[in-house]
Symmetry: C2
Subunit: 137 residues, 2 copies
């Protein structure tokens, strides 16, 4: 259940890389590359946007970061693996993390039916949050 976040030895632990991971750790929800970039800038860093992209790319390929797209959006969001399942309110945009991923229970079933060896998944659920249900009813 715990994630280690160990960067493979063939990569170097640069301060930029560390800083990007820290931003991701502090964020409750998946965020855009540019958002990471801007938070770093605001934090006094003099980092470049392409450095952010290059690192996110490498981290994604290594499985240390999850890249996803939200409905209606055209740019990627990035998050640490434990934050990838979430509910999105279509009205206000609020995001709620799904902690106990319901999918795990289905892995076995899916495995049997399709004979696939499951290695990962991504679930995105849309709906209307309690507050908006009141507001718009």
């Amino acid at each position: 259940m715990e994630q280690k976040l160990e960067i493979p030895k063939k990569y170097r632990l640069t301060k930029q890389r560390k800083a990007i991971l820290e931003i991701l750790e502090k964020s409750d929800i998946p965020i855009h590359a540019k958002e990471i970039f801007e938070r770093l800038k605001k934090g006094g860093w003099n980092i470049n946007l392409s450095t952010v992209y290059r690192n996110l790319d490498m981290l994604t390929k290594e499985g240390l970061v999850i890249k996803s797209y939200m409905k209606g959006e055209d740019k990627a969001r990035y998050a640490l693996p434990d934050k990838k399942n979430y509910l999105v309110c279509e009205k206000c945009g609020k995001i709620v993390i799904i902690d106990n991923c319901p999918f795990d229970k289905f892995k076995e079933e899916l495995k049997e039916v399709h004979q696939f060896e499951i290695t990962g998944h991504c679930i995105e659920v849309y709906g209307i949050c309690p507050e908006c249900q009141e507001k718009f009813s």
Copy 2:
């Protein structure tokens, strides 16, 4: 369970629109805008790529088409709603549609826990298909 694919009356049923929907119906898996465009071209249509995009956009907003992104890809794929849940083989890229969406069983649970009114979802599962399991074992 059945999808109607009725275009709301405020939109016109142009031949381009019909042709795009036909391509989507014929495809087993979610495909790129450009792929749709090229299949139409090959079929003798003299359609424009922006027309494809504009229609996919409208169809997506009306809920007649599902837009999604596959892991590792940076461009959107489009599919009819009954084709949105699928398994992807990480080795060979093969795609298998999940017919009986396992998620439906969880809607209620999620609804209770988070008080969200669920309106939609998207599931993408990665793994290794039976053939590749043999090939790479």
